[in-house]
């Protein structure tokens, strides 16, 4: 068994990579798997390494003749890209609203503005 406390929470990436390898081999206890999952949630480097390990294993399994082996594709939109798109959409919405308001006015306006006015020439 691998020492989680020694190479776990306070350990280096190398020790976590060993843990990942052991986890994929099904050699970790429930407590160790929980500790690893907690670390993967906060460490994108280790999460990426685990995904790569999985991909390699799936590729090996396929080449060994297991047609049912597959891997969930990694998300192609990263958080930064998504944030950029959201910012662009918000900006263009605001710009379109401002242009529409200056062209046609607001949807309501005050009631008095819509009422008839009599001006003596």
């Amino acid at each position: 068994m691998t020492d989680v406390t020694g190479g776990g929470a306070g350990g280096t990436h190398e020790s976590w990579l060993v843990q990942i390898d052991a986890e994929l081999d099904g050699e970790l206890s429930l407590v160790e798997r929980a500790a690893l999952a907690k670390h993967l949630a906060t460490c994108s480097h280790c999460a990426g390494a685990r995904a790569s390990q999985l991909e390699v294993r799936v590729a090996l399994a396929r080449s060994a003749g297991n047609p049912h082996a597959f891997v969930v594709p990694r998300p192609t939109i990263r958080a930064g890209t998504l944030a950029l798109w959201v910012a662009v959409a918000l900006g263009s919405g605001l710009l379109a609203g401002w242009l529409a308001y200056s062209r046609w006015g607001g949807p309501g306006g005050s009631l008095e503005d819509t009422r008839a006015a009599i001006v003596v020439q």
Partner: protein, 294 residues
């Protein structure tokens, strides 16, 4: 300061002169004819373009009802005047409906509004009415407006209301003269089965003391007390604002001893017969019509 007090004194003297020395018949007498002259204008590249025109005239208490409709708005207004010396107070009651949205089921949603406007102008001045709100600030605006000129002529008692109207077919535009009748021509008959009394025509003045009328059916004489009374105020806001029931009068019928009335017949002055069953078993038939010109 001195100039201000002098002009105030001058204004007070003018008011006294107008109030006491100028004969009121000269300004507002029965020989005066009031004319509302209307033009509906639209901005165009070469200058304002007239879409429609019309006029309403009559005695000084004639009012004008204006209706203007488009796909997204309906403007209805009742214009009234109150002459004050050489000036005139122009009042307008507006009833407007605007389409604001569509419901989830695709039906048009409208908002309606009622309000009053009052301006003072001199005779033959032009008042511009902007029916869709304040005057546009930019010249690129396509909002149309209404030009209204009030005129008065001294005519020899010819004050029957008249309407004239010219409009292109694209715009729903209507002008109506509104006159509240002071008198009404009432024709009474008494009916029982297939027997009818001779018609009894009379001119009644509103709010005048009741008049006794005798109707003979067969050999029996029936005496009734009739008077013309004001109808109850209209229930709907639109009817009240636009005076849609201006020509409705009510005939109060009571026994000659002045006790509780037998009934009240209300109707427009359209010469259509209205029936009132009497406690004697007879039916009183009354037609209400405009009186002949005097």
């Amino acid at each position: 300061m001195q100039l201000s007090s002098f002009s105030s004194a001058l204004a007070a003297f003018a008011a006294l002169f107008l109030g006491f020395f100028l004969p009121t018949t000269l300004l507002q007498g029965p020989g005066t004819r009031l004319t509302y002259r209307i033009r509906i204008m639209e901005p165009a590249a070469t200058g304002p373009r007239m879409l429609a025109s019309g006029s309403v005239s009559g005695s000084l208490d004639t009012e004008m009802r204006l209706t203007l409709r488009s796909d997204s708005a309906e403007i209805e207004a009742l214009f009234q005047v109150a002459p004050v010396g050489d000036t005139v107070n122009l009042g307008a009651e507006f009833f407007t409906r605007r389409r604001v949205a569509r419901s989830r089921r695709g039906l048009a949603l409208w908002e309606q509004d009622t309000y009053r406007r009052l301006v003072r102008l001199t005779w033959s001045d032009t008042a511009r009415v902007y029916p869709f709100g304040s005057p546009p600030r930019s010249s690129a605006s396509r909002a149309s407006w209404i030009e209204l000129v009030l005129e008065r002529d001294f005519t020899g008692g010819e004050t029957r209301p008249a309407e004239e109207q010219l409009a292109d077919s694209l715009h729903d535009f209507r002008l109506e003269a509104v006159v509240r009748p002071r008198r009404a021509r009432v024709t009474l008959n008494l009916v029982r089965g297939d027997t009818v009394s001779g018609p009894r025509p009379m001119d009644l003045v509103r709010e005048e003391p009741a008049r006794l009328v005798q109707l003979v059916l067969g050999r029996r004489v029936t005496t009734l007390e009739v008077s013309l009374v004001r109808p109850a105020p209209a229930r709907s806001v639109r009817d009240r604002v636009l005076a849609l029931d201006a020509d409705v009068v009510c005939l109060r019928v009571a026994p000659p001893d002045g006790s509780r009335p037998v009934g009240v017949l209300c109707g427009r002055l359209t010469n259509v017969a209205r029936r009132l069953p009497l406690p004697t078993g007879d039916t009183l038939v009354a037609t209400l019509a405009w009186p002949g010109p005097r």
